[in-house]
């Protein structure tokens, strides 16, 4: 049963990612990227990390995808220039994919399927965040504040003297 789900979600995610990388119209690419993110969130659900899946939908689809479409809206050009595909990039990507696959299949990974895991509750994640990971949490808070202020300053209109 989980193999059927795995194959279906894998096909969905990779097809959406390919569409996002190769479609010519920017809006369609951004929306396929949102679908690919939902596919990755489905993978997280399959792996048993439901909290990460929900955070993925919340942050990536609800925030990053909306940011991307807003930016597409604000930087529109009137004429769509013919997007000449650069083939060297495709070659490099294929080479890296081949290299990664070789590395994966050569490594001695645990052949047995996953050991039965205790369900990861939100309480457990909350406890870890507040005890062992409290410093990274504060640092992420600082980074997010800095990014917020920085992004606002970058797009503020300059005051004319």
């Amino acid at each position: 049963m989980s193999s059927v789900a795995f194959v279906a979600i894998g096909i969905l995610t990779l097809a959406a990612a390919l569409a996002a990388a190769s479609l010519s119209k920017l809006i369609h690419a951004a929306l396929s990227l949102a679908v690919a993110f939902v596919g990755v969130a489905a993978f997280y659900f399959l792996l048993g990390a439901e909290f990460v899946g929900l955070v993925q939908v919340f942050v990536y689809v609800g925030a990053v995808a909306v940011l991307i479409v807003f930016t597409i809206l604000l930087t529109r050009r009137e004429s769509g220039s013919p997007a000449r595909f650069k083939w060297t990039g495709a070659l490099v990507a294929c080479a890296i994919f081949a290299g990664l696959l070789v590395a994966i299949f050569k490594t001695k990974l645990p052949a047995a399927p996953a050991p039965p895991l205790a369900p990861l509750t939100v309480k457990h994640i909350g406890d870890s965040l507040m005890t062992s990971y409290v410093w990274p949490l504060q640092c992420v808070g600082l980074v997010l504040t800095a990014a917020l202020i920085g992004a606002m300053i970058l797009v503020m209109e300059e005051k004319r003297p």
Binding site: I125, M152, L154
Partner: protein, 104 residues
Amino acid sequence: MTPTLTHFLAVSAALFSIGLLAALSRRHAIFILIGIEMMLAAANLNFVAFWRFGPPSPQPVGVMVAIFSIAIAAAEAAVGLALVIAVYRHFRTSNVDKLNAMKG
């Protein structure tokens, strides 16, 4: 054929290389950002897959790293897109090939 770690790693490697394809072979700045976000999502998938198939540990390390990585990716997307808007306002183009004022 239950999915094992190899399958998940193969899928995440494919997602990573598709992201790399998008980042390397397009000329519009936002396409490059789309590729970068895809690469980050693939790396997070790797972390969570290794957490699931790895030895049981008291702290869910892979999940924690994935959560922090998602937060940082959101911050990076915000700043990157602000940069694209600022550059567009100045140069009136989002074609990265034309942004060569510092060349030479």
